[in-house]
Structures are given as structure tokens and as C-alpha cells.
Symmetry: C2
Subunit: 189 residues, 2 copies
């Protein structure tokens, strides 16, 4: 049995036929560390399923600072979803932090499949619900927790985050400087 079918099926039941339709609009790719699969101001047309490696999604402020919005670990979906939904340029960059294996999925073809296949429509809805829950949680954490607590929360979600992801990238995710993260690490250890 296909591992990816099992993964999708665990989110929402889909038929093997529906899975086979999705396969037809997907391309397996190996990408190198540093590759930007979604570039700044690109009008994207693809969503991604990450099966190995780590991807980060970041935004650049007017003053040129980078802030990581998300880290993606396998298996997960990564996409500049707002840009896809609105057919607008992406304000986010999606960049491989390590060599990665991904499936590139044509978002608009997927939406066409959803129009006629309620299995897939349900899957898409489930993914949207999952993302809603995820970002609502992040938002509440970013308002209610201080930087130390946010760091401990991240470590709870990704226990070996310190080995996987560099200090600068973690600090950028937490919304603090690398110097401050260093102080926090000293304090909590």
C-alpha cells in the first residue's frame, strides 16, 4: 500500500480512484538545501507535500528583516495558501533548510478535482480546518506567552529543534533576536 495514500486517508477517507487522480496532477521532486520553491512576489500555482527534509516559510519586513512563519517537517503540506486562493503574489518565501523530497501538486487542478469529487473536497476542508486550528493556536501563543514560554512551546512541538534548526532561524520564528534566544537558552538550561 502506498504510504502517501495512507497519509491522506488518515486525514479524510478518500477512494483509491481519487488518490490516483491526485497522483496525476502531482510531481515527485528532490530539491537541494537553499532552494526556494515559492519565491517572493511569485504568483504561485503549486502546493507541496513534504516527505523528507525541512522547509521554512518566512516573510520579509520593509526594513529587510526576515521572520519565519512556519517550519515544516515531514509529512506535511506546505503552500502559500493565501496567494493561491486569491491568485495574488506571495508575501512568503518557502525555502528548503535541508535537502528535501517533495510532491508538487497543481493547486488549481486540485480545486477542479474537488468540484467533482466530494471525497477530495472533504479532504481539502479537513486540511483547512487543521490549518485554522494550527494558526489560531500560534496566534494565541504569540499574544499570551513571553519569548521564553514560546521557545519552550516550540521545543515541546519539535523536541530536537535545537539540532534541526539553527539559532538564527529559531529566533526569527519566535520573533526575537539570536542574542535574546542565547540568553533564554542559558536561563532555561
Amino acid at each position: 500500500m502506498d504510504r502517501n495514500f495512507t497519509f491522506l486517508n488518515s486525514i479524510s477517507n478518500i477512494s483509491e480512484e481519487a488518490f490516483s487522480e491526485v497522483k496525476k496532477i502531482s510531481t515527485f521532486k528532490k530539491i537541494e538545501a537553499g532552494t526556494q520553491i515559492v519565491k517572493l512576489s511569485d504568483v504561485p500555482s503549486k502546493a507541496y507535500m513534504l516527505v523528507s527534509g525541512i522547509i521554512r516559510c518566512y516573510v520579509i519586513t520593509e526594513s529587510g528583516k526576515e521572520f519565519n512563519k512556519s517550519f515544516y517537517l515531514p509529512v506535511s503540506f506546505a503552500a502559500s495558501l493565501t496567494a493561491l486562493m486569491k491568485r495574488k503574489p506571495s508575501v512568503f518565501v518557502f525555502e528548503a533548510l535541508t535537502d528535501c523530497k517533495i510532491y508538487e501538486i497543481d493547486y488549481y487542478k486540485l480545486m477542479r478535482l474537488c468540484d467533482t469529487n466530494s471525497n477530495l473536497k472533504n479532504l481539502y476542508t479537513k486540511v483547512l480546518e487543521f490549518l485554522y486550528v494550527k494558526y489560531e493556536k500560534r496566534l494565541v501563543e504569540s499574544i499570551t506567552l513571553n519569548a521564553t514560554e514560546r521557545y519552550l512551546q516550540l521545543k515541546k512541538e519539535i523536541p530536537n529543534v535545537d539540532e534541526l534548526i539553527s539559532q538564527y532561524q529559531i529566533a526569527s520564528y519566535l520573533g526575537i533576536t539570536a542574542v535574546q534566544l542565547s540568553r533564554i537558552r542559558k536561563k532555561v538550561s
Copy 2:
């Protein structure tokens, strides 16, 4: 023509039949300022459409501090969505800041309607997409902007926010103290 039909139809085209089905599972209510339509640790079953007044949604930390996650102005949907989706107790309180007029909609009956009515399913998906865009934006702002910039951003979204909502409530939304908001107001004026 029904105003509410026009509103829903502007999000995603629905038939008059579908609208009439939704009406059947909805109840119009007038609530007083201070009323909690979703209480802490309630397992909710309703979603709300706000047609007049202001509602806030807040979370309470372990140390007892309140943080506002959202303000709702008419016309908008308000619901403890994560709790509804997971059938779990709500970590949020939804409370009327002023007298309000609302439609109370049975979420699970709505989901049943979505199962058989693709119009409504599309509407639900559109609302989820809208919420995704909204919270992603808030999250990015909360990470990339300082308190002063977040305050100015809120004023851009709700120009008369200072008259509508008290200092304490605004500060709680921004994730700062009322004292700090007072300093910021002095600085930016």
C-alpha cells in the same frame, strides 16, 4: 430581498432553498452587553452571525490574565470553531461588549446540511479560507510588528476603535498593558 441572504450570497452563491434550510436551524436573539454566548470550558454547539453590536473573544491564561483574540463587528461570523470541530471544551469566551443582535446557528445541523448540499459546503469552505487568511495575517503582524505598529494596524482596520472599545480591551488585544497603550497613544498623537 433578505439582507442576510444577500450577505451569505456575497461569500459564495447559494440557492434560496439552501438559505431557507439554514434559516430553519437558526434563531434570532437580542443579547445584553456582558452576556457570554460561549462560556469558558463550555462544549459549544452553536455558531453565531453578528448583525449588530460588538463581541469580543478572549482567552484566560494560567495566571488569570485576559487576552482578546478577536473583536467582531457586524456583519461577521463568531464561533469557538476549534471547540466545535473537535467537540471539546472552549478555551475561549465570547462576550458581548455592547447589546447585540445575533443569529444562533446549530453548527452540527449545519454540517449535516453541508453533507448533502454542495452550495453550503462551498460556503463553509469559503468561510474557512477567509478565516485562514485572517489569522495568518494576524499571526504575521504579531510576529513582525511592534506594539505601536500593531495599534496603528488595528486603527486602520477599525478607524473609530478608540471610541468603540475601551483602552483595557484594546491593550489586551495588542498583547500589552493598558499603561503601555497609554504611552503609545501619547507618542503617536
